[in-house]
């Protein structure tokens, strides 16, 4: 098994009577860094949660290589998730566990490894990220940047083939953002995973991504290399790149 290509076909999702995704099509390249950019509240995170099976689509297909996962059995999803890791916006560390146990948790749960063995590997990961000192701390005692790094350590411990990042740099100062961006690059180099990053940080996207897709009002309006984006004449893309408050996107935050 190796890092899969992910293909989304005609994805539709409404919350109540509010449509969020309207027939979205998307191709994500295997073993590459794929950025999905767009406005806040434009459905980026919703799309990502569909890819991880946390939300079920009303309609549409989600392919991991040649396996269609929309509406698949829970057991199939579990199998796929063994190869997957997800870095949540605020880390989603377990408050009731120490940092060390948080990082060791996936190993313990997926391979039924005992805490001691899982802990050894967890400590290695934390040392790589300069967090060895936080071993016994509770997630609540960490700073936002530390939490994000611990979450990254936890995401990487299983050596996943698919890695999802939900707004990895939101709420971090520029220095930390750069550090996390660096980590994303490093991760790919090591794991050769299919990386999918959801972000509104256009600069990071253009600098790091192999592939960029822009989502706007429930659809992908442009898909391609960073170069394609820089050259695009699409008004919405131009507005987003320039950060203007006037344009087809409406008011930008």
């Amino acid at each position: 098994m190796s890092a899969p290509a992910i293909t989304v076909r005609n994805l539709n999702k409404s919350f109540g009577s509010l449509p969020v995704l309207k027939g979205l099509d998307l191709n994500l390249a295997p073993s590459r860094i794929n950025f999905i950019i767009g406005q806040s509240g434009g459905g980026k995170s919703v799309l990502l949660k569909h890819l991880a099976g946390l939300l079920a689509p009303d309609q549409g297909e989600i392919w991991f290589d040649d396996r269609q996962m929309a509406g698949a059995a829970p057991a199939d999803w579990r199998a796929l998730r063994m190869r997957m890791a997800f870095l949540f916006q605020d880390g989603a560390l377990f408050d009731s566990l120490s940092v060390g146990r948080n990082v060791a948790f996936p190993l313990w749960v997926q391979q039924r490894a005992d805490w001691r063995a899982a802990g050894r590997k967890a400590r290695e990961r934390l040392e790589e990220l300069d967090l060895a000192g936080a071993w016994d701390a509770r997630p609540g005692e960490l700073s936002a940047g530390e939490r994000k790094r611990v979450a990254l350590a936890r995401a990487l411990i299983m050596e996943p083939e698919i890695l999802f990042f939900d707004e990895p740099t939101t709420g971090l100062d520029p220095l930390l953002s750069e550090q996390v961006d660096g980590l994303i690059g490093l991760t790919l180099a090591r794991t050769r995973a299919t990386v999918v990053v959801v972000s509104h940080d256009i600069a990071a996207a253009l600098a790091l991504a192999d592939q960029v897709a822009m989502i706007h009002s429930g659809r992908i309006i442009l898909e391609g290399s960073p170069e394609t984006f820089r050259r695009s004449g699409e008004p919405a893309v131009r507005q987003f790149l320039a950060g203007d408050s006037e344009g087809p996107l409406g008011f930008l935050d």
Partner: protein, 463 residues
């Protein structure tokens, strides 16, 4: 807003099961929520003191109706109208009593069904009122009469008139003991209550004891009189005389006790009762076979169950089901690839036409059976509700599937069309997330042990 109909379906399913539970609880709790049709009968009492509208009307201690109204009759008596439940047919010569119950002596109406006529009471019929008896004041009054009798006996003695006729004395004594036994037999049931009431009514007792102590009233005079001891001795002698007669087989009671035939009769009654109980308690065995056609999957699913029924209120079910979907097995594998990276892989295996097992314990409450145990190899619960003298059965079942993450739910109606034949109609696994939901219909056969014996002996006679 609620796009997913699965939850709604489950909600309806659970609501139906809860509804059955509530219904059962209401019946077991004996809450008379259902309004039964009634017919009215009436009776006229000399007095309806303490009787209130809505209190119980009982026959042999079982409530059969309520007092509908109380009105003045002929300007001096009380006419009591009683609403009796339809279906309870009383003989026309029944009589009504006013009786009291409990510590506080609440009044209710007791009906004593007569036996002298085949005629039954019709709506609007009138029955005779028996003496409103067995309350404390009545008993006190009667005791007073006895005391007066005693005085009649003792008066000549006290006067020193020893020459008076002994025959008179004996006849007086006999009179008195007859009266005593009259009180006792007339009030036998009531007396127990009266005693309870006596215990409870402190004020009454207080009054009585006060009167006794002050020597006022007949009882008081009786007790305070020195001659009482002598009289009591004589009374005891007469009681001895009565018991002597009973031993000698005189009188109804005597005949009853002395007659050997009585014992035979009692014996026979007891043996027929045990016979009846044995029949009801008999261990029964049923064999059930059923085949159901699942319309959406074009598949015939068959089940054979053995039902062991040690009593009418419970049974055990053992059986097998041949299922189209068979068994699903998955194994997780762990391997380490060339780079030393641990990989998880999963192997899935489907085995079709595998047998699934049923093993359940069931308990019956009125019309409802609650089952639990293994249903098609999954842990589950079942509810059966029987209607129309057990001909129609409504079933709800929920058990864990081996593949679906959702419970396997099933709703079914089954009707006993003829003798051992049943027709089943249902909806299987209707919330499956694996597209397994399907309506089904089918035929069932159910043999009890007698059928089986017949079949087996028939078969053996062939050889």
């Amino acid at each position: 807003m609620y796009k997913s109909s699965t939850e709604i379906k489950v909600g309806l399913f659970v609501l139906a099961a809860l509804g059955l539970f509530v219904w059962m609880a209401v019946r077991l709790g004996g809450f008379g929520l259902s309004v039964k049709d009634t017919y009215n009968i009436s009776t006229v009492f000399p007095s309806a003191v303490g009787l209130k509208q809505g209190v119980a009307v009982e026959v042999a201690g079982i409530q059969v109706g309520t007092v509908a109204s109380i009105e003045l009759y002929d300007d001096k008596q009380a006419r009591v109208v009683m609403a009796i439940q339809d279906g309870i047919r009383l003989p026309a010569d029944s009589a009504a009593f006013i009786r009291s119950s409990g510590l506080l002596g609440d009044k209710y109406v007791e009906l004593a069904p007569g036996g002298g006529t085949q005629e039954k009471l019709e709506a609007g019929g009138q029955i005779a009122a028996a003496r409103a008896a067995a309350d404390v004041s009545d008993v006190m009054q009667q005791l007073g009469e006895i005391a007066a009798d005693l005085k009649k006996i003792t008066a000549p003695l006290a006067e020193g008139n020893t020459g008076s006729d002994l025959k008179d004395l004996i006849s007086n004594l006999k009179d008195m003991s007859e009266r005593l036994s009259g009180i006792v037999s007339a009030n036998e049931a009531g007396l127990t209550e009266t005693l309870a009431a006596l215990n409870g009514s402190m004020t009454n007792l207080q009054e009585i004891t006060d009167k006794i102590n002050s020597g006022s009233g007949s009882l008081g005079r009786l007790i305070n009189d020195d001659s009482t001891v002598r009289e009591l001795n004589q009374s005891l002698a007469s009681i001895r005389h009565i018991t002597g007669r009973i031993e000698a087989g005189e009188g109804t009671l005597g005949r009853l006790i002395s007659d050997d035939g009585t014992i035979d009769k009692v014996d026979r009654a007891l043996s027929s009762l045990t016979g009846y109980l044995e029949k009801e308690d008999k261990f029964k065995v049923f064999v059930e076979y059923r085949a159901d056609y699942l319309t959406r999957h074009d598949f015939l699913k068959s089940t054979i169950n053995l039902r062991l029924q040690p009593g009418p209120d419970r049974y055990y079910l053992l059986g097998v089901t041949g299922d189209y979907f068979g068994k699903y097995k998955r194994s997780d594998f762990r391997s380490t690839d060339a780079n030393g990276v641990v990989r998880n892989s999963i192997e899935e295996e489907w085995r079709r036409d595998k047998l699934k097992f049923n093993a359940q314990i069931a308990r019956r409450y009125y019309d409802m059976v609650v089952r639990g145990g293994l249903i098609e190899s999954g842990a589950g619960l079942g509810l059966d509700y029987y209607l129309d003298e057990d001909k129609l059965r409504l079933t709800l079942e929920a058990f864990s599937g081996d593949f679906d993450e959702r419970p396997h739910l099933r709703a079914e109606a089954s009707y006993n069309i003829w003798k051992i034949f049943y027709f089943n109609l249902g909806y299987d696994d209707f919330i499956s997330d694996q597209h397994r939901a399907s309506p089904y219909f089918g035929l069932g056969l159910r043999f009890n042990d007698d059928d089986l014996k017949y079949l087996l002996s028939g078969a053996s006679s062939l050889f």
